[in-house]
């Protein structure tokens, strides 16, 4: 009996793992079940009132807790639309998107968004705010007191490899693009959301900085145990970061699998992506995308 109960406890451990590096300052709800944090059920989105083809059609997939699911696809394949459906910047035309088991349509959009970190390509830092104010924005919106916010900001700056003393008071224009992305990641983590949405966060960086940030972020993400939906058109990035890759083609998901499985899939779009990587590597040794 004890052994059974012991093994029963064991299976529960992943859901209660204390993530190293995760701050105590958390408003993230403890995960009570292994249910997916994000789930798409037959989701179609078309721009309302416009007689255009749907941007994404009949999308179904689930993102499990602490998983990094990478949405891979060409420009215009609907990757960003899927992200925007998760934090209710868009509502589905058909089907439903569930976050923590509840359809986004029944969430208060403000509450929903404050529990989801969002990182976009150009970082989208507020240019009139300092680095510290940018990172502390969501905590401030959530009425944390000043001491708690500044402690959190300092902690996050260290986490993304920026010296708080040097960077706190700078404005975004006084940062390199790589530093801006680091601040963008720190800002997304500020209120310790269980979910992160990332839209080509490293897409605008030079290849060297990009590789650095990808490596660091990969390690960080594993450490923090966040559930991450990550959009990219870069197969290298997908292979490096993903727990699983979902391939989008013209608004539909055509393949899902782990990076290892993905490379072996027999699908024309998968081959197109792998071919681009291989050709590029052969033609231009050292180029990264």
């Amino acid at each position: 009996m004890r052994q059974i109960s012991a093994s029963g406890r064991l299976t529960e451990i992943p859901s209660s793992l204390p993530y190293p590096g995760l701050s105590i300052e958390t408003n993230a709800k403890p995960m009570t079940s292994p249910d997916p944090l994000i789930e798409f059920r037959g989701v179609t989105y078309r721009v309302p009132l416009m007689n255009r083809p749907a941007l994404v059609s009949n999308i179904s997939f689930a993102v499990r807790p602490a998983e990094m699911l990478v949405l891979l696809g060409r420009s215009g394949s609907g990757k960003t639309t899927l992200l925007r459906l998760v934090n209710r910047l868009l509502l589905p035309s058909a089907g439903e998107v569930l976050v923590e088991g509840r359809p986004t349509s029944s969430w208060d959009p403000i509450r929903l968004r404050r529990g989801i970190g969002y990182v976009i390509q150009e970082a989208g830092l507020l240019p009139h705010f300092t680095v510290a104010e940018n990172i502390g924005l969501v905590p401030a919106l959530e009425n944390w007191n000043a001491a708690r916010i500044s402690a959190r900001v300092e902690e996050l700056l260290r986490l993304v490899g920026l010296d708080p003393a040097e960077f706190s008071a700078r404005r975004p224009r006084e940062l390199s693009s790589g530093q801006r992305q680091r601040v963008g990641v720190a800002r997304a983590l500020a209120a310790d959301p269980p979910i992160l949405l990332m839209d080509e966060p490293f897409g605008a960086l030079d290849p060297i900085t990009r590789t650095e940030l990808q490596r660091e972020f990969s390690a960080l993400a594993r450490r923090l145990g966040k559930t991450i939906l990550f959009v990219t058109h870069d197969l290298r990035e997908a292979l490096l970061l993903a727990s699983r890759i979902a391939l989008l083609e013209a608004g539909r998901i055509v393949a899902v699998g782990t990076p290892q499985e993905f490379l072996l899939l027999d699908h024309s779009e998968v081959r197109a992506f792998t071919a681009s990587l291989i050709d590029l590597a052969a033609e231009r040794p050292g180029a990264s995308s």
């Binding site: 403000i110 929903l112 970082a123």
Partner: protein, 210 residues
């Protein structure tokens, strides 16, 4: 009498009139900003209302200034002869540049910034007050600057309906066929306009967030 001696002998009167002129402009600008900026903020998310507001302001701007002063005289409460009517006309004139720049400034913000703000769970009013407005301030001020320079010029015509100001010299000078008297109104008005333009330009540069 040369222009110079007229300026010297009438310096007290010129100064008084300039102050009177400035008062007209300041009061009119105060109300124009008080109406134009909030109106611009209000119509950001209301396209139908925006078209109406900008349309009306544009039409007002096309009415010749002398005619606008004339039109207002018979209107009850705001009309009649004197300063109050002139100020109303000046407000109507100043409205378009302020309203338009407020709207353009609030909407011309980097899309990534607005999207990030929305995605972080800022409400529309938080985005308006904490993101759009601070980032639009320089553009709004540019509108205020344009409006101020226009108002200083148009306010000279207010003398035609008995509102005083530097226009008094200009109309008197025209009637007397005296360049000296015309210049006693025109030169201070021009100087005021240049000064306002310079000062507001400086302020605008300080507010600009790159």
């Amino acid at each position: 009498m040369t222009t110079w001696t007229f300026f010297v002998t009438h310096r007290a009167e010129i100064l008084d009139t300039t102050l009177e002129h400035l008062t007209l402009v300041v009061i009119a600008m105060f109300f124009a900003i008080l109406i134009g900026v909030p109106l611009g903020m209000f119509v950001v998310h209301r396209p139908a209302l925006r078209r109406i507001a900008l349309g009306v302001a544009s039409i007002l701007q096309t009415i010749p200034s002398l005619a606008l002063f004339g039109f207002l005289i018979p209107i009850p409460f705001i009309g009649g002869v004197g300063r109050r009517t002139a100020i109303v006309a000046l407000i109507l004139y100043a409205l378009l540049p302020i309203l338009r720049n407020t709207y353009v400034g609030l909407t011309g913000i980097d899309h990534a910034v607005l999207e990030a703000a929305e995605a972080m769970g800022m409400t529309n009013s938080q985005i308006l007050w904490r993101v759009r407005l601070p980032l639009a301030l320089a553009v709004i001020l540019a509108g205020i600057r344009t409006a101020t320079v226009i108002t200083i010029g148009v306010a000279t015509i207010a003398a035609a309906i008995g509102a005083g100001g530097l226009g008094t010299f200009i109309f008197r000078g025209v009637a007397m066929v005296s360049d000296a008297v015309i210049l006693a109104g025109a030169v201070p008005a021009a100087l005021l306009a240049i000064l306002a333009d310079l000062l507001l330009g400086l302020l605008e540069r300080r507010l600009k967030v790159s």
